[in-house]
């Protein structure tokens, strides 16, 4: 299938220059009269160019000042989001760490904790459970884990901020 005619480049160039048909090369004009493909190109190009000039003349567009202002607001919001993103991330990470530490502590000292809770609920039935010295050790461990978690959070934050700076 033949998609292009050898005259089309010349025709496109004439169309871009916008000269009247009478000023075109005679061979080109006689070719267009015979060649269906060039005829299509001329017909479509002129129709679209005329339509474009009518559309451009009648177009009613918004004021550039309003758009400029809206873009500034959008950029400002984007910049604020970029600044607050690490804070939100650290908050989520800290919450997740806290929940993990609490769950781990509960799983580790579950029997002591349940015994202590039962002692609180019914002190006469479990008098020894209230003293629960091992539970105090458990709280100490929990505190230590929480401390380690805090250090991990700050280390993570420091690494993140350093990478952002790079």
């Amino acid at each position: 299938m033949k998609y292009f005619c050898s005259y089309q480049e010349k025709l496109v160039s004439e169309l871009r220059q916008g000269r009247p048909h009478e000023m075109w090369d005679e061979t080109l004009r006689s070719h267009i009269a015979r060649c269906r493909s060039c005829n299509d190109l001329l017909l479509v190009s002129e129709a679209l160019q005329q339509d474009r000039s009518e559309m451009v003349k009648s177009a009613q567009v918004a004021s550039p000042g309003t758009l400029w202002w809206q873009a500034q607001v959008r950029m400002r919001n984007g910049a604020m989001q970029r600044v607050t993103r690490p804070i939100a991330l650290v908050e989520k990470f800290a919450l997740a760490s806290l929940i993990s530490v609490l769950l781990a502590g509960f799983a580790w000292k579950r029997s002591e904790l349940l015994g202590w809770l039962m002692g609180v609920a019914a002190p006469s039935a479990h008098p020894a459970a209230l003293a629960a010295p091992s539970l105090i050790d458990g709280w100490a461990t929990l505190l230590m884990a929480a401390g380690l978690g805090t250090v991990a959070i700050f280390a993570g934050l420091a690494v993140y901020l350093l990478r952002e700076k790079e």
Partner: protein
């Protein structure tokens, strides 16, 4: 309140820029944007209106195109590259619009997908070309408009639409043939009516 704004300005250089001209580090001041807008807004609106078939949609997409253009403007672009970049943003927005209601490619959107009859009428009344273009697929309208109304080369159209140059050549050839046939038929029908 001022203290808060100053604090944000310190943290974010562009945070206090709203309502004023951009800082020295930014790429286009409001005056340069104004003149760029005056040169490009109407042709871009015409492109959006003709391809989408809706004046109100063209209004919305025009605004969003400029907002995205300003927020994502790159350094070292000349006027022509900026213009192409703007048309590319607009074309992507059009594609997203067509994709939103049904997950279809631009090629599969039917010819009748002109959502706003009121605005289509407003456009069509200005020219005899409207009804002829309404019979083309959006992708065909897009290629025809860029090639023959905007006078873009195949390479420039490829940059704007994201299609390959070889595909554009073939699609354009078919679209032109179809459009010429429709225009001739309409001319014949108009002649008969007279």
């Amino acid at each position: 309140m001022n203290a808060i704004i100053l604090a944000w300005d310190y943290a974010i250089p562009q945070a206090g820029a709203a309502g004023t001209s951009m800082s020295a580090d930014t790429l286009m001041d409001d005056e340069a944007f104004n003149s760029f807008y005056q040169r490009t807004a109407r042709p871009l609106w015409a492109y959006l209106a003709r391809v989408s078939g809706s004046g109100s949609l063209a209004d919305d997409l025009l605004q969003e195109s400029y907002l995205r253009f300003l927020c994502a403007l790159n350094r070292g672009q000349d006027e022509e590259s900026r213009r192409r970049y703007l048309f590319r943003i607009a074309s992507n927005l059009l594609r997203d619009h067509w994709r939103r209601p049904v997950a279809a490619a631009l090629e599969d959107v039917p010819e009748s997908a002109a959502p706003d009859a009121r605005h289509s009428e407003r456009i069509d009344s200005q020219s005899v070309l409207g009804p002829a273009l309404a019979q083309m697929k959006p992708r065909e309208r897009q290629l025809l408009w860029l090639a023959y109304a905007e006078g873009s080369t195949h390479r420039e159209i490829a940059e704007i639409t994201g299609l390959g140059v070889a595909s554009i050549r073939l699609l354009l050839f078919r679209a032109r043939k179809k459009m010429a046939r429709v225009l001739r038929q309409r001319a014949l029908a108009t002649g008969r009516n007279k």
